[in-house]
């Protein structure tokens, strides 16, 4: 009798196991799917629109005309804490505000599973920044898709490039206008040090997980990118006194400020 019960239980559990296994198949928990990181560029609570006025924390009126940035080295963190690193040759993206398609970052071939966080770098990591020319293709080609995002005299990528006008900015001698320019780069140098303005962003999904399923459409991680964060926290930038920042020491302040401009708004899963 005991034996019978065990046998039945055994058979039953085996059945149940195959069932869940089948169900797993059905739920698309094997295989891969893309994850879309949607970069929603914003200015405070508003959508970012070039040519519109916004107020910085310092009280300056700013009007943007350019907002480009590199994001790279994406890592997805599973709910069990294990990590999936997007392969090197597919992990560099250049977001240009005026190019809507570039704001949708598709991370391809993510193994099915539940993910609780996304991690990435603002900029281009130091290894890639000194890689041979043959490995600088696509958005990393300063003579092609990456044009305008590279300093030739202090060789390296411009990680974040912000330009615009402000009535508080002094008249720029070259431009003849009240402009501001914050071009931030510098990966730490090769053999001799330079500033290192690379920043890592960690976006946790909170209670909602990114459910990657091979049989569903790609999930979207809706990310807010608040350009006004570049002007504040930890240090308020005063456009009148610091209208320009390139490869100088002040770029550290700018980078520390923009390090927290990315926040995760919500995850959109399809089922």
């Amino acid at each position: 009798m005991k034996n019978f019960i065990f046998k039945t239980l055994f058979a039953f559990s085996a059945f149940a196991l195959t069932l869940t296994a089948c169900k797993k198949e059905d739920e698309g928990l094997s295989g891969t799917q893309s994850v879309i990181i949607e970069m929603d560029n914003r200015a405070g609570d508003d959508e970012l629109v070039f040519g519109k006025n916004y107020k910085t924390a310092n009280g300056d009126t700013v009007n943007f005309s350019l907002f480009n940035y590199y994001v790279s080295n994406f890592v997805l963190v599973k709910s069990d804490g294990s990590e999936y690193t997007v392969p090197k040759d597919e992990c560099y993206f250049l977001v240009k505000h005026e190019d809507a398609a570039s704001r949708e970052i598709e991370l391809k071939g993510i193994p099915a599973g539940d993910y609780k966080a996304v991690r990435f770098i603002i900029g281009v990591d130091s290894l890639k920044s000194i890689a041979p020319a043959g490995e600088r293709t696509g958005v990393l080609d300063p003579t092609g898709a990456g044009a305008g995002m590279y300093w030739s005299w202090n060789a390296g990528y411009i990680f974040v490039k912000v330009e615009g006008t402000s009535p508080q900015a002094p008249i720029n001698a070259g431009a003849g206008e009240r402009i501001f320019q914050y071009h931030t780069g510098l990966f730490g140098g090769k053999d001799s040090p330079t500033l290192n303005n690379l920043k890592t962003v960690n976006l946790s999904t909170g209670s909602e997980l990114i459910e990657v399923r091979s049989n569903h459409e790609a999930s979207t991680v809706h990310t807010y990118v608040n350009i006004l964060e570049m002007f504040t926290s930890p240090t308020n930038i005063n456009v009148a006194t610091n209208p320009l920042s390139h490869a100088g020491a002040f770029s550290k302040t700018v980078a520390n400020n923009y390090a927290d401009m990315f926040t995760l708004d919500h995850v959109h899963n399809h089922n």
Binding site: P132, G134, T143, A147, W153
Partner: protein
């Protein structure tokens, strides 16, 4: 009489034909054995040669680009206009370089040689990879003032370049910037100067005799100069202030790259190879002769917060040198002149 004129005509015709053949032969230059010379008295190169192996087609393409003014905005100036082969690819007699529309730069054009052993390029070391050198002068508003993306466009439209790129980089469907940069590196990387009389001397090769004066200069050099101008590349690849100025305002040197206060006024220690041919000297090109460059160390060193401690020992500025030491040093520096290098027709403007 008649025969005579007949013969003359034939001779003339033959002569023309021969001249024609000779010309043709010259145009058909053989680069099949092009390689990068790795001299036994040099350390291992920094540049990763295996990521961009030299080929005759890649070298020839890089050379054509180097000599072609198409790289500048108004097609008026080529790399080779400021980097001239007979002066070891420096800009002789130009304190600072004259670029597009005659605009003046603020630095002296150094020799282009032995690049694969350098850790960084330009006086401030702003470019740490050889592959990315060319973008700098192309974009520089006082040099070529052109966008590299536009250069690639011009090359695509050109009657000759597309075929040359296909030959150099088979299997790529279109010209792109990385290919252009790799071709540049294949040409510039092959510009190795290591056949001076000094090299033959250290490698114990034929033609390697130094005079007593030159040998004495070498000894002085080892004691007084080689801390900075070290190894047979004559540089330790570091940035130093050798006391040219007491304040640096127009050009802050390495500081412009590192933003570290201690780097104000520091410049890359230059190699001294072919230094006889690369006058004027120093980053600002204000020292005209080798004698004056040597004299600078003896009596011209100016103090400033970042002056190299080697040039201020026991509170004394500079490196004391006797008259004969100075003469010997100049004699020694001239043994670093490499005639084979500057006369190598493979490095010169192609027909």
């Amino acid at each position: 009489m008649r025969y005579n004129s007949y013969f003359r005509t034939i001779a003339l015709l033959l002569g023309i034909a021969l001249a024609f053949l000779a010309c043709k032969k010259e145009a058909k230059e053989d680069l099949s054995d092009i390689s990068i010379f790795l001299p036994s008295n040099f350390p291992a190169p920094y540049y990763n040669l295996s990521a961009n192996p030299i080929t005759p087609e890649g070298f020839a393409l890089g050379r054509k680009l180097f000599y072609d003014p198409i790289l500048s905005r108004d097609s008026s100036i080529a790399c080779a206009d400021c980097h001239i082969s007979y002066s070891a690819f420096s800009h002789p007699d130009h304190g600072v370089s004259h670029g597009i529309e005659g605009l003046l730069g603020r630095r002296n054009a150094p020799a282009v040689q032995n690049l694969i052993w350098q850790k960084a390029y330009f006086w401030d070391g702003g470019v740490p990879e050889m592959d990315f050198i060319a973008i700098n002068p192309i974009e520089n508003p006082v040099e070529m003032d052109e966008s590299p993306a536009n250069v690639v466009k011009k090359l695509k439209r050109h009657p000759e370049y597309p075929a040359l790129f296909r030959a150099a980089f088979p299997g790529r469907d279109t010209i792109d910037g990385p290919q252009m940069l790799m071709a540049f590196s294949q040409f510039m990387g092959a510009l190795v100067s290591a056949n001076s009389r000094y090299d033959h001397y250290v490698r114990k090769e034929a033609g390697g005799t130094l005079t007593a004066e030159e040998l004495a200069g070498l000894e002085t050099f080892k004691v007084k100069c080689s801390a900075c101008h070290s190894t047979d590349l004559f540089t330790d690849n570091s940035y130093r202030n050798n006391g040219l100025l007491s304040t640096f305002t127009n050009d802050l040197g390495r500081f412009e790259i590192s933003t570290i206060q201690e780097d104000i006024g520091k410049f890359k220690v230059p190699s001294l190879r072919n230094v006889e041919l690369t006058s004027p000297y120093m980053h600002h090109g204000k020292i005209k002769t080798l004698e004056a460059a040597v004299e600078h160390y003896n009596s011209g060193v100016k103090d400033s917060p970042t002056l190299d401690p080697l040039l201020k020992q026991n509170g004394q500025l500079g490196i004391p040198l006797s008259t004969s030491e100075k003469q010997n040093l100049v004699a020694f520096l001239k043994t670093l002149t490499d005639q084979t290098f500057i006369r190598d027709t493979r490095f010169q403007k192609p027909e």
